[in-house]
Symmetry: C2
Subunit: 300 residues, 2 copies
Amino acid sequence: MLGKVVIVGAGLIGGSFALALKEAGAVREVVGMGRSPKAMARARELGIVDVVADSAQEAMAGADLVLLAAPVAQTGPILASLLPHLEPGTVITDAGSTKADVVAAARAVLGDRVKQFVPGHPIAGRESNGPDAALAGLYRGKKTVITPLPENSAGDVGLVAAAWRLCGAIIHTLTPEQHDAVFAAVSHLPHLLAFALVDDIARKPHADLLFQYAASGFRDFTRIAGSSPEMWRDISLANRDALLTELDAYLAQLTALRALLAAGDSAGLEAVFDNAQRARRAWGDAIEASEPPPGPESGK
Amino acid sequence: MLGKVVIVGAGLIGGSFALALKEAGAVREVVGMGRSPKAMARARELGIVDVVADSAQEAMAGADLVLLAAPVAQTGPILASLLPHLEPGTVITDAGSTKADVVAAARAVLGDRVKQFVPGHPIAGRESNGPDAALAGLYRGKKTVITPLPENSAGDVGLVAAAWRLCGAIIHTLTPEQHDAVFAAVSHLPHLLAFALVDDIARKPHADLLFQYAASGFRDFTRIAGSSPEMWRDISLANRDALLTELDAYLAQLTALRALLAAGDSAGLEAVFDNAQRARRAWGDAIEASEPPPGPESGK
């Protein structure tokens, strides 16, 4: 049972965390803090937060756990505003999509107190955002990656893991660098490729004709190109080195596939497609087995 | 009202065409013809076809309309088997994903009789296949592209268009070359990119670790990489020139995006992502408005 939990940003990610803890009866009080008074008022209205803090001082007084759920580029400024009021018994965690840059920002701002910062990343989301998008069941059966620092105490890491488990999440542990390399490959690169394809088509003189015939395969392939440009600009830059590594590997792969196509190498093309199909199907089966789709009871 | 319709291949595409015509009360008799006796027996059992023809001669006698719904690479051999029994009043059409190669095969085999061949491509599909996947509502509200030949009579083109309209489809007309250029961009290239990404990841030494963290964005982006390797090998080769053109444009786009990322060009990256997001959202809104998802009455 947690006492006071502070949510910095009460949108989809922070709001769902709060709702899940409340549904589990695992928190005494949730305090919200954020830049948008309107979003905060709405989070209060929806019962996501019990109190909207007027200041960092008010928010941080007696807090057990603080979740940063704002865009990663704001990590440094937010931590700087919290630091003067950070009590020795408070643990801070975050939900950012990149970790090495978040850790660097935390170290720069917090100094020795970085031991109280346990970085994390819940692997869950929806296309919609804001307090109204928050769901108590968002994290149920999903992974949350924790990337502990050498400075963290086992107890603080355990507190963050316990909070996510109360939300229904399965805890995985990686180093910040492992985390960023993995997500460059399976998340950040696909986003870049989808944005590039839609931008490529949209810039052609006959774009209207092309879009007219795009169908369900295109719809699914490009769904992630509907994501926030600002958020993905920040993620791309924050994880630039790992993303460049993956992008270069992909460009080499695509260039090799182009050579097979240009040479009319039927067996070569089929071998690539076949390997991909088998891997995709095996992945799909495994993920369905480990993460059953949320039932109706998972709504808020 | 059609008299005798012949379906060559009674899987998802041919079977759905037959079921739709039957549901519309628009056909007197559907005759099935295909390589797999088992699939044909199943199509008979499901009421997709009324009769399974034992020979091309039996199938073609008195046929009004013949739909080729087999892999495009089989177009030539199938037409060669039908030609000796092709009556002057019969119209043949097809449902292939590529058109220039289908037309070339038809011309080579049929000679002057190519005037009786009206090429087409219904833009609809499902991940499952075979007679059991066929749905009467598959084509409802979807586009069917017809790519008429200069040799076709207006009456024959009209017959094919009318049959698809009876299935609920909206008729669009392109030249075979326009068709192939359009689908290279919005369908064939995305398939190639998705196959390439999954193959790229699957070949990495730490593939298991990577797949473990792939989530919903990856799932949608790579769904089309679960498609048939044989079918996509054939489509890639059949539409090689147009696909190479699109692939080269995409490689140039991706190389430019790489340069923005390497240079840390925040505004440049955001401009690409923003253009893509706006285009993707506009497309999504337009497609939802023009193609409402099929209601429960669309099942078979």
